[in-house]
């Protein structure tokens, strides 16, 4: 039967020549940027070079980690990913108060770490528990979304705390705690960080086939198996996003107030 033949075909290899041809796609993006003077042509070029370099390094690292098969190398790689993600989330903020890196790191560790443990132990049943073939890609997906959520949430919280500073002080002046006074900025920051994930859950499979599923199908997996993994991934991302966002928002909120429930002035 035709469909079984398709499922049994081996994964098509991509040669360096194939990759070079793919560069043409980036050249299209560079061309459009240049044509309309968006100022992004150079960024696209640099980004493409970094993509090749970074993914090549990651690829060789993964080959090494898979070959050595030591739990501490896998855990070390996960922590390195966490540190880089935390720094990336903090770098995206306009204002970087002391402690934000720690707060973001804790948020991602809790949000992404707990989600990874839940998925790898309770759902996928990864064996051995540190199997890098599962942990690293899963954590990468969790962390990427958690990082975006944390950055969005922190940015929105900072913005709301500034635009609503008069309202917040009015709450404080009536005898509200800082937690009560900042309730609306916290709510709005969490909403902003979680809405993209809600939207994804609503349209997945209708608007596009997500990356995990696409990769598995291309690699030869049965689509009906691939969709199960994708469902797990979508739920996993919802959890990571929610947990990372709430921890970063609640931690970051505290930095806006003194111990005496006073709103810190913007310059201090």
């Amino acid at each position: 039967m035709q469909n079984l033949d398709i499922l049994e075909q081996p994964l098509l290899d991509l040669t360096l020549i194939d990759l070079t041809v793919a560069v043409g796609l980036v050249l299209i993006a560079i061309g459009v940027s240049h044509w309309h003077r968006t100022g992004l042509a150079r960024s696209f070029a640099v980004g493409a070079l970094r993509t090749v370099l970074q993914l090549t390094i990651v690829g060789y690292l993964l080959v090494y980690i898979f070959a050595i098969d030591r739990w501490y190398l896998v855990v070390g790689a996960l922590f390195l990913m966490l540190a880089i993600a935390s720094k990336s989330a903090v770098d995206r903020q306009d204002s970087k108060p002391a402690g934000l890196f720690g707060i973001t790191g804790a948020a991602l560790l809790l949000g992404s770490g707990l989600t990874l443990i839940y998925v790898s132990v309770m759902v996928v049943h990864v064996d051995p528990w540190y199997n890098p073939r599962y942990l690293i890609p899963l954590f990468g997906m969790i962390l990427g979304n958690g990082m975006n959520a944390a950055a969005l949430a922190a940015d929105r919280l900072a913005g709301e705390m500034e635009t609503r500073s008069a309202e917040i002080e009015a709450y404080l002046a009536l005898g509200a705690s800082s937690v009560r006074a900042a309730r609306e900025p916290v709510r709005l920051a969490l909403r902003a960080s979680m809405i993209p994930t809600v939207n994804s859950l609503m349209v997945v499979g209708i608007v596009s086939l997500p990356g995990m599923m696409t990769g598995q199908i291309i690699a030869g997996a049965d689509p009906l198996i691939a969709i199960r993994y994708q469902i797990v991934v979508m739920f996993m991302l919802a959890s990571a996003v929610a947990l990372s966002a709430v921890v970063v928002v609640l931690g970051y909120r505290r930095t806006f107030f003194t111990a005496a429930e006073q709103l810190r002035p913007k310059d201090g």
Binding site: A173, L174, Q262
Partner: protein, 241 residues
Amino acid sequence: MELKVDTPSFELRGVGQERAGRTVLQDVDATIPRHLITVLVGPSGGGKTSLLRLLNRLDDPVRGDILYDGRPIVDYAVTELRRRVALVFQTPVMFPGTVSDNLAVAAELAGLQEGQFDQLAGQVMLLAELDPTLLERPGDELSVGQKQRVNLARALMTSPEVLLLDEPTSALDPETSHALMKTIATLSEVRRLTIVVATHRVSEAGDYAHHALVLRDGRVVESGDSERVLSGLPNPDPSSP
């Protein structure tokens, strides 16, 4: 600690304050008498708002001590202090929702039982001379004068002992200003509140104040009986050069 009859509401001793690296108050020694209206007069930037913020502990001074009812202000739990010492801002701030929703926030913070809200809301609307039918009006539909009165009513929901008012009439026309200040004067008598009003309109202050503090460049340059202090000012309005 039992309060002596003449214990001032507030005592400031050597108080200094800075904001954005600038000294806004220095060596402030002053008392705010109990159950009377004290007016803080002085030009804009003279330190009036900074001083009011210290009394409500929205800020803490960088130097000196502040006593409230004879005890260091830092000895009070800050949220409890702020319910007893209410601050109404120069620019009225409305919370989302209706006037009733605004009063409900204060009621929630004061720990009022559900059954107590309607009666107290009615009382404070009366005290602030607001039409009770405004209760269900969205806050953003009110005039500036009405918003200022709602802010006043909201502050009264916590049954404070002290009312701090920062330039309450600055955004109002003369007629509305006069009406609001008359309301505040009545409040002082009816509720025996200690009231502190910061204003740069000296001509208005004399009509209702008992006690006055003149602030200039962050220093108290004169204090005492309002009639004496305000009439002794070389210029009717310290805000003009």
